[in-house]
């Protein structure tokens, strides 16, 4: 399954909107942790830890080794992933 973040917007900030994005996605997410999940950051212009923590952290917790990140070149995307890894003691995988 590929999750294109640009479908939620290009400027992804705030906890509230991160929460809402995850809630909107929830019905389409696989129930079991058997499928590869790719988060695609293509065309995301600004990303922040508040949005990322509400959206990425629960997905990382649920899908762990089946979760992969893609197109993470934007400086704010890179920096946010690093801070989430540091504070949540997790390691994301890249596609």
């Amino acid at each position: 399954m590929i999750i294109e973040l640009k479908k939620f917007g290009n400027l992804l900030i705030s906890r509230q909107l991160g929460k809402e994005a995850l809630a909107a996605l929830a019905p389409r997410l696989p129930k079991e942790n058997t499928e590869k999940i790719i988060i695609d950051f293509l065309e995301v212009t600004t990303f922040s830890p508040s949005w990322g923590d509400e959206f990425l952290s629960p997905l990382q917790q649920k899908y762990q080794n089946n979760l992969f990140l893609k197109n993470t070149d934007n400086p704010s995307v890179k920096a946010t992933i690093e801070i989430l890894e540091e504070t949540n003691q997790v390691k994301f995988q890249w596609e």
Partner: protein
């Protein structure tokens, strides 16, 4: 009908208000320092009157005056975000403007994400608990490379005390907010915002100079790429909420 603030003025009028010549404004357009709002098919530049007036104002002084007032009114409409959606909309406008500045082409998202974290902290941490004026002061002056955010909320100490009851003063609270992992997932999510701000300002190598002044209560700190360890200073004029100035 256009109100006065949305009125478009000719380059000659803009130059007169700013006290520069028209050639300087054309140069500012080419360098991205000050873009006209519209260029007509004949190549004439038009500027929004409110943008030109903004350049003549000191937005940091306006924000500081607002947070220091004992009894305050809502700030001027052009600087006031009463709720998070208004802030999101204005931040999006800022993001677009930053992308057009040539020196920020690759790195604009460092600035927009830092502004996003500081601004959303104000709304997230004061939701339903604003002591007087709900919302924040948010202004930017791309000509001077300044972005200002301020709120009359509870401030860092009161907010952090909910998850760190041992904190006793503004200096300790500011140091904790910028440097320590606050593992308070309950009663509300928090913890990474100002650490992210510090990471971007201090730790990440960038090809743009970025500087932050941040004050809450009677404590302030200044962060830039020369910061080795965080120094907390005592502010002359304390206030309850938060005040941030970003220079780029």
């Amino acid at each position: 009908m256009l109100n006065n603030e949305n009125k478009l003025i000719k380059i000659s009028e803009a130059a007169k208000i700013l006290g520069v010549n028209m050639q300087t404004l054309r140069r500012w357009d080419q360098s991205g320092r000050l873009k006209p709002t519209r260029i007509n098919p004949n190549g004439y530049r038009y500027y929004k009157l409110s943008d030109i007036r903004l350049i003549t104002k000191d937005i940091f002084a306006l924000a500081k005056k607002w947070v220091l007032e004992s009894i305050a009114a809502e700030p001027d409409d052009q600087f006031f975000c009463p709720d998070a959606p208004t802030f999101q909309t204005r931040l999006h406008r800022l993001e677009i403007a930053l992308q057009k500045i040539p020196k920020l082409e690759k790195n604009f998202s460092f600035i927009s994400s830092v502004v996003g974290e500081i601004g959303n902290n104000s709304f997230d941490h004061n939701l339903g608990s604003w002591p007087d004026i709900r919302g924040m002061f948010f202004a930017y002056d791309l000509n001077k490379g300044q972005i200002v955010l301020a709120d009359r909320g509870q401030g860092i100490l009161t907010t952090l005390k909910r998850v760190r009851p041992a904190l006793t003063n503004d200096s300790e609270a500011l140091l904790t907010a910028f440097t320590e992992k606050v593992s308070g997932r309950a009663p509300e999510n928090r913890g990474n915002g100002l650490k992210y701000v510090k990471k971007v300002l201090v730790d990440i190598k960038k090809d743009i100079p970025l500087k932050l002044y941040f004050q809450s209560g009677d404590a302030f700190t200044i962060l830039d790429d020369k910061t080795i360890s965080l120094i907390i200073g005592q502010a002359d004029a304390p206030f309850r909420g938060c005040l941030a100035l970003i220079n780029f």
